[in-house]
Symmetry: D3
Subunit: 239 residues, 6 copies
């Protein structure tokens, strides 16, 4: 089997992580998985949402959006339609949960960090790219709090990244682009920490259900990919 | 370890499936997993939504709701608030995908079946109960089309059911009730067909990430539980 | 004239009132007028809405909903459409007013009781069934406050119930089912207390206006019916 | 008892009906019941709403609004809040039903007439004033269709008007102004045709329920008042 | 060139300003530019919006609406559609800014004045009429505060009025009515104070762009017209 | 006077126009006025909106958005809030009108081009940058239609660009950045074509009204600036 992109089954797309992409946010990262480009900003606010008040803890949350022409054909602008789609809400809940899994909310103190993940260009895997870029932006925002003396140590306990895997024509492949994503039988998004703990696993059979053996192969592939992605996150932050 | 309910780790709650619970719908099932009670109705309409028009195929979709006082404390009525929560949309998309995985949409013809899953009483696992009950209601609705001569054979290729599994105090357990659900570290919903194919797997670490070994144990437990649930579905339909 | 159901003109449908139908609410009643089935729950909250704050009084309010397939053909889910219809709002305002008419709000203290009336199955007369069932659920909720020592005496001054009456083919009839409701000329909903006081009267001529004599006959019929319904409420509470 | 306005119990406020109040609408009436002023316009459109298509009949409907400062203190603008209140919807449904009760929809042909009733100044009884003024605007609109040769005869079978009655300090009174309306025990709106047929009766006990004898007295009072109002409508149309 | 109305190019329509048009508002003005009729009310509230709290200043804001049948053909009711159009929001922002330009917000104290401008009948120039009438209503409201001893001196520093100008068939004309407005190439709304200072200028080329010379001619024309309008405002307030 | 940026009063910020910034859209331009960065995409659809159907003409429209953290402090996401602000709607209407002013809609044929202007980073002048960038994206989209043989000649009759001017500390200055914009007395946005025709002029006095002489100076300044901007647009398209 040859992938449309010429990649081998276990090969990631070219991954680029650009920090300080915009100037106002406490963390601002452009993450690119091949042609998928997502701008992830981290905004610190010295207050927490209503349901967290008085607990002495912080909160990390996310919002997700896609520019109308990030895709092949123009999609509706959610602000104009007057509501976010179910898909958008599902994705932003996933991003938030993934980042909270590596954050010590008590150590963050009574402040909120909002990760805005806006897709400038889409070619599959936007939610995984969002988690990956948002993690780096979150590190930058938290480090700025430490540098400013507002925090003694970083409340971030680990890195976290995500990748999609799927079965295309019977073959498990890593990091699906749009062409593969639209034609695959099974699509799985996996979120794993730097130390290898699984945070989220979301697999869906689009047509034929998948077997236990396929599940195992997909999780193996995702683990391998995420190890490479976390290395890239660390290297970007060290730059 | 003792579970609050006294169940063994791999024991389902008492499962009851009552067909023809209401009189108007083509399929109407009250499904009970212990104290969780969901009314699942299947409604047949001789038309398809806009995006399916002219394809010569049918569509199966789902809507989910919870009565305001299905829970310990009263929740907002979504109709009064003017929008469905992200959680509601996530659940109804999951139910729809699960049922379409066992339906031959071409064989259904240009008609839509809507599964309404309304939670009358909640005690954990409402989305899994919904999928389980909706599958039976869908069978009833499709059988009524066959009986009426509108379909020659049933477009349903299999059964499908769901169950939640989780790690509570380090122990993998099957079919979490509300008490366990609120205290567990890892929560996973698994959707599997009658022939054992995996349709959906959605696992989330609420606190500590989970290991590969724990993932394996949870999937084993879910597979065992779903085999029992599918047996109950078949027995209910045979009654 | 024969009624489609074979009932005599002044005969109610079979009335069933089941208390403690669900487990979480302070009052939970399934009320059935023939095939019309409404689940009425009463939820007590130790706070009042903004416009009642600081008055030293309580509040009783209601919300009404209908499951999408409670009816012959599936109706839109109001939560999905994003707003409640004018009909829904009219009904829930009527239920709230009717219950407040028998409640001493001062004696209730600064707390709110919300009556949720959700129609599981509809066959005409759902608003009247809602008032009737909600009254019993309200009694249960208030009695639980008395039992818990939060109230010394019940702030409920009376019972209240409702019934529809109408003119079908020139004949005044009691407690219309769906078939009669859709074909009748004049439709009237009457809300009366246990001691016979009129709380609400809402009569509408669908086609030909009605005469003063017909108005009198309809109110007579409603009074007779409500006396029987209140007896059933009292008997259910005594059980 | 003396009424705040000095009127006798069965005396209407000064009633003024001004036709052709604005220039664009097919019917345009300013109706004044004392200080209550409502602008009622009738707009003819050569199409019917979706649910009436293909029936060979017309439709008459109404919309109701209140300018934010029509009242003592400024109310929210419903367009700014983004939704119409339950009260607004209840009123516009009532106006529509009342006018359809005197219209032969078949004779109207496949066209819609919309009555917009906008309260410029409120002092109680705005829904009754709306029905009264809208009836005259509807006559003007229909007469313009007859004059234009689009209709051979008027599809209006009668006049229709409305008035409020209530029990204030134990005394039944006619045509309540705002002061009486806010303090009365029982409030009733009655809609009656020119030939004396009852179209709508909506009575509510705000505090103590009302007796059968009080109901009778109120309907008598309303009948008397409406006879005078219909005379004023006819006289305005003859001018 | 002859204008459809027979006016000379620099001639305003007949301008009428009627104060105390309704009874409840602190300022209530019906302003008429020919057939354009707008009811402008000023409502005083002893509180400011959230973003102005604690600044020791007041706020002046505006809302704008058009009755559905103010126009040749019936328009949607914004309250029924559930949102205000972009045009409505643009206009009410313009009215608010124009009035704040002549108000000393500090001298107003911590209170808000809301100007509601509701178009009863439209024939072009409704936003200019709104500004013109709202200025008079604002003067009345502020004078009532002074009369009541709540303010020592009026915080209004000047008058402000608005007029539309445009190029019709190559000719600059003043105060366009609907016919001219729909056919003109360039349309400009100008807001000028009593002392001649420009507050707002909004010019739009509908077809061919306009030249600098045309811009100059239009501003000249507007200045002349506004001087006459301000004289009328002063004369109305002196009456 | 020294400007905060060190620019001379009539000096533009550094202007960069990058074409083909993203890959899917028919035109995709990143426009930068100093630190203000707007992504402008042009999307061609072979259909027109309802109100343009059957006229044999095309339509050009625009939508505008700002990423939540494009600004110094995070703003609400309009999609999450469920509606676009009045400011957003005002801006997108302005962009659309400006582009239609240089487009021959008849020559475009029955197709729609939507310009999405999304602000990635804001430092004042985002609406002017949007118009400037959108014009280039529109040229690219139209040229692609010509290249594909769908249009014989370009329906674009000219270039169009916009710039803000204002009076800061009594001095007219060109192309305000955020610091100047927040402190200026008068703010004006001017839209001018390549051949010098004025398309839009929108001036607002934030505090003191401005004089006729100031208006003249501002228009002079804007004309000079736009000539430079149009030169940059042409040079970008020639590249």
């Amino acid at each position: 089997m040859t992938r449309p992109s010429g990649r081998s089954p276990d090969q990631l797309r070219e991954l680029r992580i650009t920090r300080q992409y915009t100037i106002h946010a406490e963390g601002s990262v452009l993450v690119e998985f091949g042609n998928t480009k997502v701008l992830c900003t981290a905004s610190v606010e010295e207050k927490v949402p209503g349901f967290m008040k008085g607990k002495g803890e912080g909160w990390v949350t996310a919002e997700y959006g896609m520019l109308p022409r990030a895709t092949h054909t123009r999609g509706d602008r959610e602000a104009a339609r007057g509501k976010q789609s179910g898909r958008t809400q599902e994705i932003q809940r996933l991003i938030g949960r993934s980042l909270r899994a590596v954050t010590n909310l008590k150590a963050l103190g009574e402040r909120q960090i909002t990760l805005d993940c806006d897709v400038l260009q889409a070619d599959g895997g936007t939610r995984c790219a969002s988690i990956t870029g948002a993690c780096v932006a979150l590190h930058d925002a938290v480090n700025s709090l430490v540098a400013a003396g507002k925090l003694k140590v970083s409340p971030l306990q680990d890195f976290v990244a995500a990748v999609s895997v799927g079965i295309v024509d019977g073959q498990p492949v890593l990091d699906l682009d749009y062409d593969e994503d639209s034609s695959c039988d099974t699509d799985m998004n996996v979120v794993i920490t730097g130390s290898g703990g699984i945070v989220e696993i979301q697999g869906t059979a689009e047509g034929t259900p998948f077997t236990r053996a396929e599940l195992d192969a997909l999780v193996d592939l995702a683990s391998k990919g995420i190890a490479e992605i976390v290395a890239a996150q660390k290297s970007a932050l060290a730059a």
